[in-house]
Each structure stands twice: as structure tokens, then as C-alpha cells.
């Protein structure tokens, strides 16, 4: 998946597991940028009696590099606190939850937002309410209007913030892809699927009807860009304190010591698909500025070598490229530095020579009137890899890029394999169980546990 359970260690710690990161110029407020970091993956909506929440003992951060050094010039920090109103009931709620202050809602979560700019901290807000999880029509009636919408808070300066449950917006045929890189629409060519007699088939969205927890910010562009530098680099991290002791009298954990990063995310699928499993945990502990050590994994991606083997005869030109041990400068530019000026007419999201996995967004590019889910590959410069919108088909974009489509940017004489241009896991936003929103926080209303699974 994009980064759901992508490394052995973080797969054991869902509340700190960053799953997706989005950064885009807000289509309905184009003077702002929306940043969304998702956590707590693969939530079954019927999650009672203890519904999903953020970790009170986790430091969540969204970092922004405004000067091209792959260091955080601006960081937004989020800390959560859970409050239990009635200690004598086993219930999350004892009656319908009709507002964020409902006394029937027993276990509430609140959070603070701090902005750190060049080392100086400023608390923007404290005790902001999260919405409850979407339990069902009896417990959380009018969820979208009475509970989710009031949980969008406006801060001084026009910044909006939301933290709480959302419908998973990332679509992927997980079951097929991790079954030996089988892509159902092409599985009649896949060596093992062919042996089983599998026919080409539509994709199956493994995340349909699952929820996630989102931290979403909508910030004026002027507040997160340096003067005359419209390109920003964004990444998210989760950290825990280094020491943790279990109080065996109470069953509670006590934490102390400095914060240590245990999860991070810039570009989708970076750690998941490019970094070897032996180094994924290590990658999660590293700052982006140290990513040169992973550059070889980008320049010689394992998947590029596997595609011609798993799909014999389908990727002959990619096979030749692999055989020549060609460094994939196209992927290095897309994922590690941004695309410099002059490569794609009228477009750049280059941040500088420091190789780092950042989601790079040129904030000077206006939202597309007719967006393409294939982003830049689909001729839409407002989409991935220029930042990432909630609906961008990052799986297909990255599959096509790895299969050689973007290598033509480096070598105009390279002939892209016909299959590479149409490679996909067979999914689109139509395969979601609920639509995206047209306004902040853009990800859909979470699925309720009464109707899902149906």
C-alpha cells in the first residue's frame, strides 16, 4: 500500500504508522495548501467497544522544507489527549452522540497544534475536539453535519485544521499486487497467473469500506513558502519517547526521554516498494536529508527488474534498460530532488541537489479545472508527483514510471514499452465505497460500523 504497515517494526504500532501523505493547492481555496497525514491504517468500521483513536503518547508532525535543504523550516506538531467522562461504564457512548460536547459520548479525544518555525515554537491552539468514530445510525446520527463538520476548526490567520476518522481514500489492489506482483488487468500475461489459467480481470480495491485517521491542515500559501520560492517539500513523521515502562499495578505505560522518530512518509510507496525489507525500519528512523544512502534503491529499483521476468515478453525495452544496469535518473529526479526546469515544458518542482524523499509541491501551479488521476503523466501538472491529491492514482503512476515511461524524459531515443503506458492495477476513484468531499478535509465521511461490513 502507499505506506500502510510498510515496515516490520511500524506494522506492530498502528497509531504511529503514517499511511498516506497528501499536499495540494486547495481547489476551492486556491490561496491555500492542504496537507493531510493519515495514520492508524485498515480500520474495520465495526471496531467496538474500543474505537480507533490517535496515540496520546505519540508526537505527530508535518514538516515543510521551504528552502531546498531537505530540513524542516516549518513544522506543525500535534499532541493528543484522551478524556474519559464516566469510568463506570464499558461503553464508548451511552446514548446518541448529537454534538462534540455530548455528555453521552464517554471517551473523547482532544489535541493541540504547535507551529515550529526555524526552531521557535508557537502554540496555535489547544484542546481542539476530534470527532467520534462513526459508529452507526443510532450512536452517531447526522455524522457528517453534526459531528464531522464542527470538528473542522479555524485558527488565527485562516488556517483550518481537522483531526479524526475519515474514509480511506487510497485505492489499491493489495491482494493482487503482493501476490507476486500480479496486476489483474494484465494477469493473462503474468507468468504464474498464466500457469493457473487466470484471465484478465478488473482490480479489487482492498481498502474499500475501511477507515483511517487523518490530520489535515489548510494553510495560506504565504505562511508555508519562502519568498520567491514557490516549491515546498513536505513529509510527515511520528515519534515516541525513547523509554517506556509498564506500571504493573495499573497496566499503564509511562514514557520519558527524547522523542525518537519511528515513522515517516514523503512520496507514496517509497519505503514500501523501493527500500529492501532489511532496511525499512532503519529508513523510518532517518531524516530525509540522509536519503542519499537510499539513492541506489531508487536508481535501480528491484521492481523494474522483476516486471520483465514476471511478464515475459511484455517489457522488452525495460529488460534491455535493466540489463545495461542503467541508473534511473528519471526516478531519482521524481522522488529525490524534484524535476528541474527544462525537462517538462513549463513545469518544475525541483527543490535542490540534496537527495531526499519529500513530497514536492509547486504552489504556483493552480488547481486543474479538469484533473487527471494520472497527474503529471496525464498532462495535469497540479497532480502527483507535483504534490499529491486525494484522488491521484499513485499506484498506476509509479508502476508506469518504474516500467520506463518517464525514462524518455532522460533519453528521448528510448522506446517505451506499449504495456508500460497503460500499466495499472485496474482501479479508479469509482472503486471507493464513498466519494471524496469537494471541500476540506476532502477525504470522505468514514464508513459506519452498522452498515460495514454489510
Amino acid at each position: 500500500m502507499s505506506s500502510h504497515r510498510e515496515a516490520p517494526e511500524i506494522s506492530q504500532d498502528p497509531v504511529a504508522d503514517s499511511t498516506d501523505l497528501y499536499a495540494f493547492v486547495s481547489p476551492d481555496r486556491p490561496r491555500t495548501v492542504t496537507l493531510i497525514g493519515n495514520y492508524v491504517p485498515l480500520q474495520e468500521p465495526a471496531g467496538g467497544p474500543n474505537f480507533y483513536e490517535f496515540g496520546d503518547d505519540v508526537l505527530y508532525e508535518i514538516h515543510i522544507d521551504t528552502e531546498g535543504r531537505s530540513e524542516p523550516n516549518i513544522t506543525y506538531q500535534f499532541r493528543f489527549t484522551t478524556e474519559l467522562d464516566d469510568r463506570n461504564t464499558f461503553l464508548y457512548n451511552t446514548a446518541p452522540i448529537t454534538s462534540l460536547s455530548s455528555p453521552a459520548w464517554n471517551r473523547k479525544q482532544f489535541y493541540s497544534v504547535t507551529r515550529v518555525e526555524n526552531g521557535r515554537s508557537r502554540r496555535l491552539a489547544r484542546k481542539l475536539a476530534c470527532p467520534p468514530c462513526n459508529i452507526g445510525p443510532l450512536s452517531t446520527p447526522d455524522y457528517a453535519t453534526k459531528l464531522a463538520r464542527p470538528a473542522v476548526h479555524t485558527l488565527d490567520g485562516g488556517t483550518r485544521v481537522f483531526a479524526g476518522q475519515r474514509a480511506e481514500g487510497f485505492y489499491v489492489d493489495l491482494g493482487s499486487i503482493f501476490d507476486l506482483a500480479d496486476l489483474r488487468p494484465f494477469q493473462n500475461y503474468q507468468v504464474f497467473a498464466k500457469a493457473h489459467g487466470f484471465k484478465a480481470a478488473p482490480g479489487v480495491n482492498a481498502t474499500k469500506y475501511l477507515n483511517v485517521h487523518s490530520i489535515a491542515l489548510q494553510v495560506p500559501i504565504s505562511e508555508i513558502t519562502a519568498r520567491r520560492r514557490p516549491v515546498i517539500g513536505v513529509w510527515t513523521t511520528a515519534s515516541r519517547q525513547r523509554a517506556r515502562i509498564l506500571n504493573d499495578d495499573t497496566g499503564e505505560w509511562h514514557c520519558s526521554g527524547p522523542w525518537a522518530q519511528i515513522s515517516r512518509l514523503g512520496n507514496p510507496l517509497f519505503n514500501e516498494v523501493l527500500v529492501p525489507i532489511s532496511r525499512k525500519d532503519y529508513w523510518n528512523h532517518q531524516p530525509p536529508a540522509h536519503d542519499k544512502q537510499f539513492a541506489r534503491d531508487v536508481a535501480r529499483p528491484e521492481l523494474a527488474g522483476l516486471l520483465p521476468v514476471l511478464y515475459p515478453g511484455v517489457f522488452p525495452n525495460l529488460a534491455k534498460l535493466d540489463a545495461r544496469k542503467t541508473a534511473r535518473a528519471d526516478l531519482e529526479a521524481i522522488l529525490l530532488t524534484g524535476i528541474p526546469k527544462g525537462i517538462i515544458k513549463g513545469f518544475t518542482n525541483y527543490t535542490g541537489p540534496v537527495q531526499s524523499d519529500l513530497l514536492r509541491l509547486n504552489t504556483a501551479i493552480a488547481p486543474a479545472k479538469k484533473p487527471s488521476i494520472f497527474g503529471l503523466l496525464g498532462g495535469d501538472a497540479a497532480g502527483f508527483p507535483n504534490g499529491r491529491r486525494v484522488f491521484d492514482d499513485v499506484v498506476s503512476i509509479e508502476l508506469r514510471a518504474i516500467a520506463g515511461v518517464t525514462y524518455k524524459l532522460i533519453d528521448p531515443k528510448y522506446t517505451v514499452d506499449a504495456a508500460a503506458k497503460i500499466l495499472t492495477d485496474g482501479l479508479t476513484p469509482a472503486d471507493l465505497g464513498t466519494p471524496y468531499l469537494t471541500r476540506f478535509p476532502y477525504l470522505g465521511v468514514p464508513y459506519d460500523g452498522y452498515h460495514h461490513p454489510s
Partner: protein
């Protein structure tokens, strides 16, 4: 916590940092790792102490919520031979260089 020193108890007794550490360690019964809940113990005053922050610590240092109801201090005997002991408290870690203390903790831990 039955087997850890109570913060009030430690403060009332005016226990020195070393004694407090040892008592907590002995009670914890852990080999290599000792834990104690204390208030106001002056660990950096011990031999060869230096406080360090991890990368990103400066950004998070001002973050004062949510706070622990009772402050937890955790000791990690990182290298017994070299006398390296890490003391985790709040959002900092202090590195002690005290071979004698390290040896005593190891002995106390059994």
C-alpha cells in the same frame, strides 16, 4: 507501583541521586536496565554527566502537553564496563559516566 520508589517518598527522605538510583534499581530487579520514579533528583550532578537531545528534540522541547501524572525516570545501563548510564527524564536523556554506580546497579539487579 509497589516495586518502584514513590516520588513523594524520595523527596521526603532527601535521598541523594545515587542512593535513589540504587534503591530504584534494586527494587526493579532488572539486569542492565533500572527504573525509578523520582522527583527533583539531581542526576546531572553525578560524575561525568552530560545531557543530550535527539534530532528534532529542539522542535519538540517546548511541547508541554500532555504531561505525565507522575514523572517517570528511567535508567539504562548502556555500557556497564565504561560506566555509561542513560537517564531518561521528561523529554531529555542524560548520559552519566560513572563506572562505580554502574557496577552497583548491576550488583543490585542480581
Amino acid at each position: 507501583m509497589a516495586d518502584l520508589m514513590d516520588a513523594t517518598e524520595a523527596a521526603r527522605a532527601g535521598i541523594t541521586s545515587r542512593r535513589a538510583v540504587l534503591r530504584g534499581a534494586a527494587a526493579a530487579g532488572a539486569a542492565g536496565v533500572a527504573a525509578a520514579a523520582l522527583a527533583g533528583a539531581a542526576f546531572p550532578a553525578a560524575a561525568g554527566a552530560s545531557t543530550a537531545k535527539s534530532p528534532g528534540q529542539d522542535r519538540a522541547a517546548d511541547h508541554d502537553e500532555p504531561t505525565e501524572p507522575a514523572e517517570t525516570i528511567v535508567l539504562h545501563v548502556r555500557d556497564a564496563a565504561a560506566g555509561e548510564i542513560d537517564v531518561f527524564r521528561g523529554t531529555t536523556v542524560t548520559r552519566l559516566h560513572d563506572p562505580a554506580l554502574a557496577r552497583q546497579i548491576i550488583r543490585a539487579a542480581g
